[in-house]
């Protein structure tokens, strides 16, 4: 075989691959698993609250009524800085209004129906976006893990010069360690474009805060909003004098008339009920990777311009495409299923990676039963803990302490692994199976009962 890559480079790459893998595998596994589950973010919200009113569309006048109803109920409370109306979509056919104070579902006539109760879905998203560590720190850690995933991908390729040549060779039933290595390498090759796409977009999104602060500090006199304004558009100048509710219905009618190809996804009110208020409609474009285009309107509902995410500068279009490419919500069920399949494959690849390293150590005569058990506690303990949070949502309710349940159960799994290294794997597999079946049955029963 021609030695395309020098032997010492291969060896160094393998060492780097192992070092990065051991450093980041546990957290990367959590991110990949939660990312895979989060592909169904909208569907989970429907499972959480099956009795919320659903509709395929809502009339502009009903949206206006709903906003007025919600804001009327907020008199005497701290004025909200923003108001978001989620409009019905194929994946989440509900109308939901969110302010700084509350979130509520509305019916097709614009009447307030019930408070939004999707704490488990939000917990899941928070676990994936920031490992439940609030603020910039959590997002930066997740962004850094995206960078590590990119580096793992590249070092993995360099460390295995035959990886493409053997890309279809899978000795899946080999028990001597070859099978595990084949699974790791094959899944690695065939998830390569997917892994690079989600790792790069994830790193870009996660590191957006510190990068944004860098841009703001050096080029925009410390104004973070100004750093992002050329990309996503800017908000109007605030004017705190009170003003009547803007004509959102007119804005939505204008959207239907002037931009029939755009599907309104959100109505956003900046500084509602003030003279500086601004109406934006975020609308999706079919067969585009961008999450949408922002259409701006004045208080009378007159169109004033768009941000340019769909047809502006290339940087705007690239940035707006990163989110859908990361979350897999750009092509309905076929794309979602593909993301779930490849996400699960990434989880399997990460799980196998550490087991391969442990196997090599064992074949060299160095056994680490507790380390192996601890890794099994991660592989099986993470989905088990996640299934328990879901069960808690269905049994305790929206107020269940999901963050505490997840991390304490994971900690308990790790402690159990150290105390009972021989039985932890089977035990957690059994508990995971029971949790998944129990959650599934309970969710089905609640949906049927509702």
């Amino acid at each position: 075989m021609n030695q395309v890559v020098h032997k010492s480079t291969v060896q160094r790459s393998l060492s780097a691959h192992a070092a990065l893998g051991l450093l980041a595998s546990a957290l990367l596994y959590i991110l990949c698993l939660t990312g895979t589950v989060t592909v169904l973010y909208e569907e989970w919200q429907r499972v959480e609250q099956p009795d919320a009113p659903e509709m395929t569309a809502i009339a502009p006048a009903a949206v206006q009524t709903a906003i007025a109803n919600l804001l009327a109920g907020e008199k005497g409370r701290k004025a909200t800085g923003h108001l978001y109306v989620h409009l019905p979509t194929d994946a989440l056919p509900r109308t939901t209004i969110t302010t700084d104070n509350q979130a509520a579902h509305v019916d097709a006539r614009g009447a307030l129906a019930m408070p939004e109760r999707n704490a488990w879905s939000e917990f899941l998203l928070g676990l994936h976006d920031m490992l439940n560590v609030p603020g910039v720190i959590g997002m930066t850690i997740v962004g850094a893990l995206g960078v590590m995933m990119l580096a793992l991908t590249l070092t993995g390729i360099i460390a295995h010069p035959r990886i493409f040549r053997d890309a279809f060779r899978l000795r899946a039933r080999d028990k001597g360690g070859v099978g595990l290595a084949d699974w790791h390498n094959r899944l690695g090759v065939w998830t390569l474009p997917f892994a690079i796409a989600i790792a790069l977009t994830g790193a870009m999104i996660g590191l957006g805060s510190i990068n944004g602060y860098g841009l703001a500090g050096l080029f925009y006199k410390g104004d973070l909003e100004a750093a992002y304004a050329p990309i996503f558009g800017e908000e109007g100048k605030p004017d705190p004098k009170s003003a009547p509710l803007p004509d959102v219905a007119a804005a939505l009618r204008t959207m239907a008339q002037r931009f029939p190809e755009a599907r309104p996804l959100y109505v956003i009110l900046h500084e509602p009920l003030t003279a500086g208020q601004q109406v934006q409609v975020l609308a999706g474009h079919d067969r585009r990777l961008i999450f949408g285009e922002t259409y701006a309107f004045d208080s009378q509902g007159r169109f004033t311009g768009k941000a340019g995410l769909s047809d502006g500068h290339i940087g705007q279009q690239v940035a707006a495409s990163a989110y859908n490419l990361h979350f897999g919500n750009y092509g309905g069920w076929p794309v979602k299923l593909a993301y779930i399949l490849f996400g699960a494959a990434l989880c399997g690849m990460i799980a196998a990676g550490v087991l391969i390293w442990l196997g090599k150590r064992e074949r060299r005569g160095f056994h680490h039963p507790r380390l192996r058990a601890a890794w099994h506690a991660i592989i099986w303990g993470v989905p088990f803990a996640l299934s328990m949070t879901f069960l808690a949502r269905l049994t305790i309710g929206n107020e269940a302490p999901f963050v505490a349940i997840f991390w304490l159960l994971l900690l308990a799994s790790l402690i159990a692994a150290l105390c009972l290294p021989d039985t932890i794997r089977r035990g957690l597999q059994f508990l995971l199976g029971a949790g998944v079946i129990g959650g599934g049955l309970l969710a089905a029963a609640l949906a049927l009962g509702g």
Binding site: R12, S15, A16, H17, A18, A19, L23, G143, A144, L150, A151, A167, F168, L170, R171, A172, R173, D174, K175, G176, G177, V178, G179, A181, R186, W190, T191, L200, M204, L207, G208, I210, N211, G214, L215, L218, F219, Y228, P230, I231, D286, R287, R288, L289, G308, H313, I314, G315, V318, S321, G331, P334, V335, A338, L341, F342, A345, W357, K360, R364
Partner: protein
């Protein structure tokens, strides 16, 4: 969402066909250049069909179709694989000490400090310098800022790899400090307030 028949379907079909052709080519006892080229050309044509139909979205969908087809080939390989027990690799990756070798915790911590926060800061400096240059050559702020947002993680990844490939600490420090210094000079030269 439904996929209308058109170039996108042709691209999707081409992507599946390219994977089947690649599977066939790589399964032969010796490499066939025409088959390999044919497979890659088919994949390229499929991607171009996706792009012609719906731009980046079409390319993404065609790529997913190709990957799904490859996974089907893999699933077949897994199901058809005979049971075996070959000797697996025990290549040492030098992550943990063997025998009486020292653990070198201090050195490990320093490597972590250089490759994670150290490389992060250097990557940030280079990306910001690139943003400053982009501004000077007339790139719009949107393009310059997004360039910086994507460049930073890519540079960090490259630095992580470069640092881990070095045997000597001095080389690692040079790889971190020289680009950072050059970036600071570029920022100063372009009139950016540091």
């Amino acid at each position: 969402m439904s996929f209308p028949i058109g170039l996108l379907w042709i691209g999707g079909g081409g992507a599946v066909a390219s994977m089947a052709l690649l599977r066939h080519a790589w399964g032969k006892p010796s490499r066939s250049v025409p088959l390999n080229l044919g497979a890659w050309a088919t994949l390229l044509a499929a991607l171009l069909c996706g792009m012609a139909d719906s731009g980046a979205w079409g390319m993404a969908v065609v790529t997913l179709a190709a990957l799904a087809a490859a996974f089907l080939c893999l699933a077949h390989a897994a199901l058809a694989a005979p049971p075996g027990r070959q000797a697996a690799s025990n290549r040492r990756v030098r992550m943990l000490p063997e025998g009486a070798e020292p653990l070198r915790l201090g050195a490990r911590f320093l490597t972590f400090a250089l490759t994670v926060p150290g490389a992060c800061l250097t990557a940030l400096a280079i990306a910001l310098a690139a943003r400053a240059v982009a501004g000077r050559i007339g790139l719009h702020d949107a393009d310059g800022n997004v360039l910086m947002l994507f460049l930073m993680p890519l540079l960090w990844m490259l630095l992580v790899m470069l640092l881990l490939f070095q045997d000597r600490r001095r080389a690692q420090l040079l790889w971190l400090s020289l680009p950072a210094l050059a970036s600071l000079l570029i920022l100063a030269a372009t009139g950016t307030h540091i």
